[in-house]
Amino acid sequence: MPVFKAPFNGYSVKFSPFYESRLAVATAQNFGILGNGRIHVLELAPGAPGVTESVSYDTADAVYDVCWSESHDSVLIAAIGDGSVKIYDTALPPPSNPIRSFQEHAREVQSVDYNPTRRDSFLTSSWDDTVKLWAMDRPASVRTFKEHAYCVYQAVWNPKHGDVFASASGDCTLRIWDVREPGSTMIIPAHDFEILSCDWNKYDDCILATSSVDKTVKVWDVRSYRVPLAVLNGHGYAVRKVKFSPHRRSLIASCSYDMSVCLWDYMVEDALVGRYDHHTEFAVGIDMSVLVEGLMASTGWDELVYVWQQGMDPRAS
């Protein structure tokens, strides 16, 4: 299975929506506490267990998240620790990048998500307690969403409704927003502790998962939000990221400070269907390929990026 060793600690990994073999990785020096960051664009060798770096970009501060554009195959957007949001064109060499940089967030930007349906906008969420909406053709943010009372660790678009997104915050609330409305349309007090991540189901646009400092992943249906559909126990520490599969309706991947990546099927009794312990430090980034069913990638503070097929051992060579 492909493994890539980065010079800095990994924070996030994303498969390209255009090329099966391409990934972007966000990394940060000194665990993202102090120092520089770097974005790597990786290529998987066809048919062989190799991975090569095609280009990398240095940043003055940690890169906490990265996402691909859904409208331009070579465009990347990065969430930076100094509060900036930067756009890169991987078709251009490092000296020409970033092609744009926005400095609006007052604190660290934790997440960035591109709109998969409208394909003209993206969201960022920040430790300044806000989420910002950006359009690719605008010089500044279009809107700022200010209801959260603590760090917003994730903001993610609904896969079918182009104006709807969810945000997960350290204020222990999950909020659902419609950008056409002045305020959030729903507030779910999803956990008793900070919520570190959320993701929408790809097949049912009313279902989301949240992951928390309380070590659980919960699955919610906005049509009956009082009680979660499922509570997934199994991680030994805070669950840093959660991701719904693009290929199987009820399959969820999660990664945790307990250094493991887990696979869950929230609709079966024994929900934990897979556990991978390949990381030797906090596992903080997880993604599943849209183009290749079952292909997964993870990254962690051990400076490694793994790409593997579900059911296989990521460390197998």
Partner: protein, 457 residues
């Protein structure tokens, strides 16, 4: 390096979540030992069991018997702020575990009944209890401290600390208090408890060398700052407009009014006019009606809960209640109370007086206010920056809650530049009270903007 510490703190909260049982980390990265990091994050890490203020409001403060609330009864005054703290936070009133009201002059049982009536006026159900507390001029602050202590003790999760005084309805005895026990005359300190407050102000001025000019200057500054705050619209954040009535004393005609501005402030106050006033407590003394606090009507209310609950409800945190101290001092110079109480409260909070960015110190009398600031070597640009009781008024039981609203809203405006604030009062019969607050997470956007201060000396 401050940013690095902030990031460590956020990460540590993921690993050692607030109020969970600690389990040792088996594979912790060596850079991040929780023990080391926590000690570095001190003194004021944010924890889920912090007691926080999510709302603090007050009425305008009006001149007793002549101002906007002269015909407003105390239960109507109190009801307006009790209603505001639950309405503006969308809190279900039935979730409130207790309402504690500081109040001084009215007969105790009468006032307790009126406060219960006020809670019904404000929409609270039968299930929400009410009680009063009287620690003289600090009663409103004592109410807030009592609620914070009760939440911490686990008696309830949400409480309201409030204060109310209607000095139009109830009067301080003109000649000072009269002890019912003749034996008080046999104990000099007990006898001094009965001194009119103005005499204690003269004692402070004489014993500690506070001049008439210093006192008058403090009064001018108080009025100037209060007038500027009103003119700039700053106080609108903290003041709840009250719809009430005013009765013409001759025709008895009632007129509906809305009171939203402090009406005791004299923008034109100046040294020459103040110098003409007689010293009414002592011949050739220095305390006058102009450099003493005004007799007033007003109310305030503060909503408190644990941080974890505020976060769960999605409520912005206006401030954190960090410590509270009451200290005793000689009754004959009761005004020095803040000079003793403030160091006690900051010490309890693990801070020095020099760490405090903003103060609200009750100006019962200019003499004790000036003395306290000099004794503690305070930067006057950090004290009573929007005026004090000499200009605004001193509705005895409400002043503490009024100061919480004033302090926390000003800290919010100042943002990251202002982290700790202190409120303090002297207390009749010889005490000082002080509380330390930390700025909450909710700050205005201009988080590093220094408030433009038009004052110059």
């Amino acid at each position: 390096m401050e940013r690095a510490m902030e990031r460590q703190k956020i990460l540590l909260r993921h690993l050692n979540p607030v109020s969970s049982s600690n389990s040792s980390l088996k594979h912790e990265p060596s850079l991040l030992s929780p023990v080391n990091c926590v000690s570095e994050v001190s003194p004021m890490a944010a924890f889920g069991d912090d007691i926080v203020i999510v709302a603090a409001y007050r009425t305008a403060i009006c001149k007793a018997r002549r101002g906007g609330f002269k015909d407003t009864l105390p239960d109507d005054l109190l009801a307006s702020v009790l209603k505001a703290v639950v309405e503006r936070t969308s809190l279900d009133p039935s979730e409130v575990g207790d309402i504690v009201v500081g109040t001084v002059i009215a007969p105790g049982s009468q006032r307790a009944m009126e406060c219960r009536v006020a809670a019904y006026f404000a929409g609270f159900p039968d299930s929400v209890p009410v009680r009063t507390v009287n620690r003289q001029c600090s009663s409103g602050l004592q109410a807030v401290a009592d609620v914070a202590a009760s939440i911490r003790a686990g008696y309830y999760d949400i409480g309201i600390g409030a204060g109310v005084e209607s000095m139009s309805t109830d009067h301080i005895p003109g000649g000072g208090f009269h002890g019912s026990n003749p034996r008080a005359q046999d104990f000099p300190k007990a006898r001094d408890c009965l001194l009119p407050m103005g005499i204690t102000s003269e004692n402070v001025a004489e014993r500690f060398g506070v001049t008439r000019e210093e006192q008058d200057m403090a009064a001018v500054e108080s009025h100037k700052r209060a007038a500027a705050a009103i003119a700039s619209g700053k106080l609108k954040d903290e003041i709840i407009p009250v719809a009430t009535k005013i009765v013409d004393p001759e025709t008895k005609a009632e007129k509906a009014i809305v009171v939203s501005v402090d009406d005791g402030v004299r923008p034109n106050s100046n040294m020459a006019d103040l110098a003409k006033l007689k010293t009414v407590f002592k011949q050739n003394g220095s305390t006058t009606a102009g450099n003493a606090s005004q007799i007033s009507d007003g109310a305030g209310a503060v909503l408190l809960m644990k941080r974890s609950l505020a976060m769960k409800k999605g409520l912005p945190i206006l401030g954190v209640f960090r410590s509270f101290a009451v200290t005793g001092v000689e009754p004959s110079v009761m005004g020095i109370g803040p000079a003793v109480a403030i160091p006690a409260a900051t010490k309890l909070a693990g801070l020095n007086v020099s760490d405090i960015d903003l103060f609200e110190i009750n100006e019962a009398f200019a003499s004790q206010y000036v003395y306290s600031c000099k004794k503690l070597e305070l930067d006057m640009e950090k004290v009573n920056v929007n005026g004090g009781a000499i200009a605004i008024g001193h509705p005895l039981g409400a002043t503490g809650a009024r100061c919480v609203a004033t302090l926390l809203h000003e800290m919010k405006r100042r943002g990251k530049d202002c982290r700790f604030g202190v409120i303090s009062m002297c207390i009749g019969t010889g005490m000082g009270a002080a509380a330390v607050f930390e700025r909450g997470d909710s700050v205005d956007n201009l988080s590093n903007a220094r408030v433009a201060n038009g004052d110059s000396h």
